[in-house]
Every structure is written in structure tokens, then in C-alpha cells.
Symmetry: C2
Subunit: 316 residues, 2 copies
């Protein structure tokens, strides 16, 4: 599964850079670290099973790879960003479990498997979310053991907390809920609302992933802010592509319920601007993302350029 | 409401210490800080309303007061522990919202008012929990602005994260769910299971409140560990008293649904050892809690002694 989802990309990665082996290598490292971080021990074995079920369910780990790549780009050791990379994937897993809950999207399929609450029950799923968030905070906050200064670790913790709360995921999800069935007259207002949702629901966590990587890697303020801008473009692009895939692919191809945005009458980019214009917009965001990397060493920037290409060209 | 819940205590507080005015003063400070931390601004005004609904619903703020008192006892300025005190109350509020959810206890009354999801809907309630947890982490992690060292702040953040996760609230809640309708043959096994639930579901957060206060206040490792032991006794005692109140008081007196442990066939202290023995056990825990404070300056220890008396003698 891992290689098949990556293989599709190699033809599109336009750089002289072994992207496929890079991704496989990083995804393996992240999986190994996530596996180690969630041993199946007492107490609450069932909660730990549920954590692992979503955390190790063959995700492409785009967020942790962004985190590791940003760390290395600013001159850091990849290992110093691994706890942050794992933390961001834990937060992401927690948000997936939440999205699928009966009181949210009420979905039964995710990555080709039954959703967390379908397998473990809603009560365990809700507790599993807490366990993932708490472990994410703990993992990041103990990064000083890897030689990162306490000041930097705290800065990264704050960055991640903001990405989760009322300035991030929570705001995006709340706007998403309030926008269901929305029939705003003006395309402009619809687009603004949609952009708000995507920037908060998706881009905020991709931004936090990239920025915490740069912080842990010892990046300067200038480097961190350039990477922030890159990540914002990539994050928004990620969701534009997601919207397009939702209307153009089958559930089998996606590994999750296709067409559900339409069924829920959700605002999406294809709905506001059509599929073709949405694809063009994604390409434009990719170009913009690349521009923010110009000031970095061109030899070192290949992973982040390829990651952006990967996201814009992905098929599931 | 605030003064009536405190007034009942003054007759039982056995120390030459103005406990009532102390509590009123601290509760007011905490409420002011919580109010300031959750302004009703954009975005997600509804989420912020829901946060404030539970956070500022007339709670007795036992946890934040423990936090502030521990900070002062070890020689710290109270203000340096205020973010941690607010954080612990946010975590507590989040756990109350969760306990009341349809997939958990499915409760409609809390502190004499409809529960959060009854007022705002289940989707908003779930997002409100995330917002509270994220804000709690952010508040604590930015305590360096008050002069606390980054090392200490990180230590406090880890302490809090552990109290929430698989070693704390999550473990307690999971064990509570798995124990419903439990009919273990042996009283010993039932007591062990019950103690596990209470230590994790209740005592862990009271412990984290006290310990983070001591950390923020600059306490030595010895002081922190003594306060940890005090808080563990107080935390367990808190829940034993809660169990007794559930079977001896009316919903009106409690401000929440009475007798719900019985209805849910939950394991409780009165069920395992009877009401009288449960009261005796609470008194014993109070004595033990006081012993852990012996090594501190007796002039400064009055707030924590009175708090323990307050908890053991509370009527709601």
C-alpha cells in the first residue's frame, strides 16, 4: 500500500531527486517511531489498540515528512524533529477520528477500513482522541532530551496548540459544520468562507508540522517564516486537491467515502469554481509554494519541492 | 452561589485561618483570569460561548486553588501559577463536557444547568473540548512570560499531559466504562478496580494541579514530591466523598443528577464498603494528606489543610 501510493508520484516528481525512495524511507522511520511511542501495554490496552488502529493505518504521513524535511533544510538533525513529527501525526489521527464521529460527518470508511468508532465504539473513540492529543503534547514537550533547547521546544508546543485550537482545526471544523447546506448568493463570499475552512481545517496543521520541524532544527526566524508561507500554500493546495478527488474518484480509489461532500451539501472548490479551475488554482498554489523556497540552498530543497508536487498530483 | 457553597465550610474548617474569604478571593481571581483567557471574539464565537458556558458556570475551582496554594507554599508568586491554574480548570471543564456526552454518561444536568451538549449540540460540545485542551496547553506553555524558566514550564506541561492521557483521565474513564454493571465476586478485586478508576479519573488531575503549582512556584524536588503525595490523598478522598454524596443527596442539592452511579450500576465506595465505612475512609485519607504537609512551614500550610477539610466536608 505504501509503495503503491508513492509509485504513482515518481513520474510526476520533476526533480533530480529520488523522491520515491525518500518517501518510503521517511514513512518507514515515522511508522517505526509511532509504533514505539504506542506500545500495547497496560493500562487501557483497548485504548492503545484504538490509537494504533488509526495512527498506523497506512497513512501517507505527509505532515510528519514535512516536519522532518523542514528540520533538515534548516540544518538540523532529522532525529531532533521526530517527536514533533510523531506529535503532528497523532493530532492528525485524532482529527480524523473526530471527523468520522456520528455527531460530525458520521462516516464508516477511512483509508479503506471501518472508521475508529465503528470498530471500538464511540466512547472508546472519544477517549482515544484525548490519549492521542495528550501523548502528542508529551512527546513534543520532552524533546529537550534530544538536545533541543527548552525555549525552542516551548515555541513548538505553542505552535502546535494554536494549530489545534480556535485559531486552527477547531475554527475550520466549526466553519465547515456551519457551512453545510450553505447557499450564499455571492461566489466571492462562498470562496471566502471556503478558504477560511481550508486554511484552518487543513493548512493550519500542515503549517504547524513544517514550522515545528524548522524550530526543532534550529532555524532562524527568517527561515521559519519562509517555511510557514510555503506550508500555507501547500496546505491550501492539499485541500483543493482533496475536494477535486472527492468528486472525481470512487470510494475504492480513495479508500474513504467518495462524493460525501456533495451528499452533505458541503462547500467545496469544485462547487464554487468548477473542477478545471480548481485544478488550475492548485497548480498556482504549487508555484507560489516553490517561490517561498527560493532563498534556501537549491541542493537541499528537493524534498519539499517534490512533496508539493506529490500533494498536487496525488490520486487518493 | 459562590459564597453559599463556601459558607457551609467555614464551620468545619478547624484552623485559625480565614478560609471563606480565602476561597472567595481565589475563586474570584481564577474566574477573572478564565474570563480574560476566553474573550467572545471572532472566529468561532459559538465555540467560545460554549467554552465559557462550562468554564464559568460557578464551579468551586478546587483544582486551580490547589495549584495557586501549592505555588505560594513553596515560596512562589501566585501570579506565576495562574496560567497553570486556568489550564487545569480548562482540562477539568473539558472532562466534564466529555463525561456528560451521549456516548458516555449521557447526562443532561451539571451544576444545576443543562449540560454543554444539550445547549450547544454534540458537535459543538466535542469541538469545545478540543478548544479548551489546546488553550490549556498554550496558556501553560507561555508561562515563561511571567518569569518561570522554560525548563520548569516544560516540566509542568508534561505533568499535565500525563494527567490527561493513558496514565490519567483516559485510563480512569476507560476503566469506569468497563466497570459498569461489573459484578466482581471478591470485594478486594472490586476495591482495587474502584481505586484504579478514582486515582486516574479524579486524583490524577488534582495531583497535576498541585504539582504544576509547586513547579511554577520554584519548589524543590522534595517539596514537589511531598505535595504530590498530599494531592493523591486529597484526590482519592474527593472521589470517595463524591460517591457518598451521589447516594445521600438529591439532584437539587448536588446541582447534577443524583443516584446516577446506582442507575448505571457503577462501582462506587458506598456500594463496596457501605456509606459509613466510606466516610471513615475519607477521614483517614484526610489525616494522611495532612501528614504529608508536616515538613512545611506550619504558618503557610493553612490553605492546603483547609482545602482538604473543605473537600472532605463538602455537601455538593
Amino acid at each position: 500500500m505504501l509503495t503503491s501510493s508513492v509509485r504513482r508520484l515518481t513520474s510526476t516528481a520533476s526533480h533530480n531527486f529520488e523522491f520515491m525512495s525518500y518517501m518510503v524511507n521517511k514513512i518507514n522511520s515515522v511508522n517505526k517511531a509511532l509504533d514505539k511511542a504506542t506500545p500495547l501495554c497496560k493500562p487501557v490496552v483497548k485504548i492503545r489498540e484504538a490509537m494504533r488502529y488509526t495512527l498506523l493505518s497506512g497513512g501517507k504521513h505527509v505532515r510528519p515528512v514535512l516536519c522532518l524535511a523542514a528540520c533538515v533544510l534548516v540544518g538540523g538533525q532529522e532525529s531532533t524533529a521526530m517527536p514533533a513529527a510523531c506529535a503532528v501525526e497523532m493530532i492528525h489521527a485524532s482529527s480524523l477520528i473526530q471527523d468520522d464521529l456520528p455527531c460530525m460527518d458520521d462516516d464508516s470508511l477511512r483509508r479503506g477500513k471501518p472508521t475508529n468508532h465503528k470498530v471500538f465504539g464511540e466512547d472508546i473513540a472519544v477517549l482515544t482522541r484525548d490519549a492521542l492529543i495528550a501523548l502528542a503534547v508529551e512527546k513534543m514537550a520532552t524533546s529537550t532530551s534530544l538536545g533541543v533547547s527548552p525555549e525552542r521546544v516551548l515555541r513548538a508546543v505553542v505552535e502546535m496548540a494554536k494549530a489545534v485550537g480556535t485559531e486552527g482545526l477547531v475554527a475550520g471544523q466549526a466553519a465547515d459544520l456551519s457551512g453545510e447546506g450553505m447557499s450564499l448568493e455571492e461566489d466571492g463570499a462562498r470562496l471566502e468562507h471556503l478558504e477560511f475552512i481550508h486554511i484552518h481545517k487543513t493548512a493550519a496543521l500542515l503549517e504547524a508540522a513544517t514550522v515545528t520541524g524548522a524550530i526543532m532544527g534550529g532555524g532562524s526566524d527568517g527561515e521559519i517564516e519562509r517555511l510557514r508561507k510555503y506550508a500555507r500554500c501547500v496546505g491550501l493546495m492539499f485541500q483543493v486537491v482533496d475536494d477535486v478527488l472527492d468528486v472525481t474518484k470512487s470510494s475504492d480509489e480513495l479508500g474513504k467515502t467518495a462524493g460525501k461532500d456533495l451528499i452533505a451539501s458541503k462547500l467545496t472548490y469544485p462547487k464554487v469554481m468548477g473542477v478545471e479551475k480548481s485544478r488550475e488554482y492548485a497548480d498556482e498554489l504549487n508555484r507560489e509554494a516553490r517561490e517561498h523556497l527560493h532563498a534556501f540552498d537549491s541542493a537541499k530543497v528537493a524534498p519539499l519541492l517534490s512533496l508539493a508536487d506529490y500533494i498536487v498530483n496525488r490520486q487518493n
